[in-house]
């Protein structure tokens, strides 16, 4: 243990016990003793008035990497419903587990209260086993509660890899758990590989990386975690060579679920929970579900833009209806602004506003260079245009060749039912 009490100097004043956030110090007679909960946070060193606690700098010795086995997926649930990303990660975790070895398993870790019923869904989407961590204090996500039970479980069962969805909850929980474990965490991964050969395959297909220096026959089974940085301008692959578990958060939507196998089963491990009410230092007053507020062009997650293909100014009525339905903001091409159909403040492009929404709907926009310059880094571009030769289709992720006055009303009608449409295709 890195933090030690110098017995000769300790006066038994208990200031360190008060200062310790982790309940890692107790009294043995008149001497303070540090137990295994110590995270070397040094709060006690700062609190001690007698210089009786020191950081010896000694570690517990190098981590025995071979003691860690299997892949865990934090199977995030909210109000008793599994998040899509949890099912995606179970599929991905299974792929990674099999890359490590035939007997490496993927486990879903379910944390909550009264959620054992979700285990069968985890099995059906590919989990070999489920760790069930249930307690009334875990009914809703809290940083303190979930961090403690997950940390305890990792300490007890020693997984080799732990994956989280990069949701607002996953990105709150994972760094806390990783810091307590003193292990590495890679954020917002979009690609994971274990075998060097599969990493090479991925890199050759999708990137500009020179893979000639990588050995496809290498026995390196460390997790290669690839993520975007600098606003997506650069990709980096991160490894965690000396500590375990290897931990990642993964962007929702980038991994694919396995096909559901109805009736699949597996082992359920009930994890002992040691958690008290005062371990949780935040109090949830209420949880509210709400639609997103509409914001300006540069901040908008969704933009519905109209161009000269609308034919006349009244076309923006339809675009406004479309934007209102999808929770987006109305944009336009310069042609539409120049024609006097809409105010310049809506203009996207080199001489207008540069935007990077999650979805950009280009409706009746041909795709002049000056327009593309202002929107081509959007995450997803959907183009609707009558002219199949329009340059906008060169940058679009999804193109629809057709009459926007017929297509958009259909999208508006179907928008709220998109969940059902999608569910119907996967179940």
């Amino acid at each position: 243990m890195a933090i030690c009490v110098i017995n000769e100097k300790c006066k038994g004043c208990k200031l360190c016990i008060k200062a310790c956030p982790f309940d890692a110090i107790y009294m043995e007679g008149k001497l303070a003793v540090i137990n295994e909960k110590c995270t070397a946070c040094k709060q006690c060193i700062a609190a001690c008035k007698f210089d009786a606690i020191e950081d010896t700098g000694e570690e517990e010795g190098p981590v025995d990497l071979s003691a860690y086995k299997h892949v865990w997926v934090y199977a995030e649930q909210r109000a008793g419903k599994l998040m899509n990303v949890a099912l995606e990660l179970i599929g991905e975790g299974r792929r990674l587990a099999r890359e490590i070895s035939d007997d490496t398993k993927v486990y879903a870790v379910l944390i909550g209260d009264g959620i054992s019923g979700l285990a069968s869904e985890c099995f059906e989407f590919g989990a070999d086993g489920v760790y069930l961590i249930e307690n009334p204090l875990l009914a809703n996500f809290t940083t303190d509660g979930y961090t403690k039970v997950l940390y305890d479980a990792v300490k007890a069962y020693k997984p080799e890899i732990v994956l989280f969805g990069a949701t607002h909850i996953g990105r709150d929980l994972a760094p806390r758990v990783a810091a307590r474990l003193s292990t590495g965490l890679t954020a917002d991964c979009t690609r994971l590989d274990v075998k060097v050969s599969s990493y090479i395959d991925y890199a050759n297909k999708n990137t500009t990386l020179d893979t000639s220096t990588l050995d496809p026959a290498s026995d390196d089974k460390g997790l290669k975690q690839t993520r975007p940085a600098f606003g997506g301008n650069l990709m980096a692959t991160i490894v965690c060579p000396r500590t375990r578990p290897q931990m990642s958060t993964v962007r929702p939507g980038v991994m694919t679920r396995r096909e559901r196998v109805p009736g699949a089963t597996g082992d359920i491990v009930n994890v002992n929970v040691s958690l008290a009410e005062n371990d949780i230092r935040t109090k949830i007053v209420e949880i509210v579900k709400s639609a997103k507020e509409i914001v300006s062009l540069t901040d908008a997650d969704i933009i519905c833009s109209g161009g000269r293909g609308l034919g006349d100014p009244s076309g923006f009525e339809l675009i406004r209806k479309f934007a209102a339905k999808v929770g987006g903001v109305v944009g336009s091409s310069r042609a539409a602004v120049d024609a006097g159909w809409i105010d310049h403040s809506h203009q996207v492009g080199q001489t207008g506003t540069t935007v990077k929404p999650k979805i950009y709907f280009a409706c009746g926009i041909s795709g002049a260079i000056q327009h593309l310059a202002g929107m081509q880094t959007s995450d997803i571009i959907v183009a609707i245009n009558k002219d199949p030769e329009a340059p906008i289709f060169e940058v679009a992720d999804y193109g629809i060749v057709g009459d926007l006055y017929k297509v958009i009303p259909q999208i508006i009608d179907e928008w709220d039912g998109a969940d059902e449409l999608y569910e119907a295709t996967v179940h």
Partner: protein, 267 residues
């Protein structure tokens, strides 16, 4: 009773201005302006609002980075912060989020006696959102991330925040001292004032290295101590042409589009 806030901020390249060299396929960072990270500006603004309401509040901004990050601290002082501390040392270079949080937590402990720590949710260069929670963990503090609204009781002990979720929000109560991370919905950062700029450039901004922080350069900070390393880095392949959705009727076109968007979790 005086109230002491520490704001964690980062100087970042304006990623909107970064371009890829079409020949070498590497980042062109020359001429790219460095700015105060957006979410951190929101964190500072909220601290300044607390100071507006309770003038006996003091705000110290802590940053880690190269020597020129001092410019960003001067900007923070000119907005109204009281003090700035720069953590800069070759020995801190190459730190990942774990090691970075060790250095910043050590600085916060050295400053001491804080009531509230405010950070931005994430920096636009790395986008990890990990350093805030990891500082909180090392300090043993409770945290709330994605803070979109903030209010505090008059005794300055009880805080209520709105925490943004993907599909709504949570209302959470938390006591001081604690760590909060801000998102842009929280407020609109103020501009520097003329008087503020005048005072800021005259202010002494200390630089602390590993020695001043008392951190172990083999085990706690820097490249060697970091649990994660960069294995490879590269630029993504240029975006290829997407798919043309084909169907017989407009309804089918719309259905196929929505199913695609849904299956990729775009909507």
């Amino acid at each position: 009773m005086a109230f002491k806030i520490i704001v964690c901020a980062k100087q970042v390249p304006d990623t909107n201005e970064i371009k890829i060299d079409p020949v070498t396929k590497t980042l062109v960072r020359e001429g790219v302006p460095s700015i105060l990270n957006h979410d951190d500006a929101n964190a500072l603004e909220e601290a300044l609002k607390i100071k507006d309401a309770y003038p006996d509040t003091t705000i110290t901004v802590v940053t880690m980075g190269p020597p020129q990050a001092k410019d960003m601290l001067i900007e923070c002082l000119a907005m109204g912060a009281d003090d700035g501390v720069l953590l800069s040392d070759r020995a801190l270079g190459g730190s990942d989020t774990w090691a970075t949080s060790n250095a910043i937590a050590a600085a916060i402990n050295k400053i001491g006696d804080y009531d509230l720590i405010f950070a931005g949710r994430q920096a636009i260069d790395g986008d990890t959102a990990q350093v805030g929670p990891q500082i909180a963990e090392k300090l043993g503090l409770p945290q709330v991330t994605y803070v979109a609204e903030f209010s505090m009781s008059d005794d300055k002990k009880h805080i209520t925040v709105k925490r943004a979720l993907e599909d709504g929000y949570e209302l959470i109560k938390i006591n001081t001292p604690c760590m909060l991370t801000a998102i842009k919905e929280l407020n609109t950062p103020r501009y520097m004032s003329i008087g503020g700029i005048f005072d800021a450039v005259r202010k002494d901004i200390p630089t602390w290295g590993a020695k001043e922080l008392g951190v172990n350069t083999d085990k706690e900070v820097g490249l060697e101590a970091s649990p994660t390393n960069v294995f490879r880095s590269f630029t993504p392949a240029p975006k290829g042409k997407g798919m043309i959705i084909e169907a017989d009727t407009e309804k089918e076109l719309a259905d196929k589009l929505l199913i695609n968007l849904k299956s990729k979790h775009i909507i």
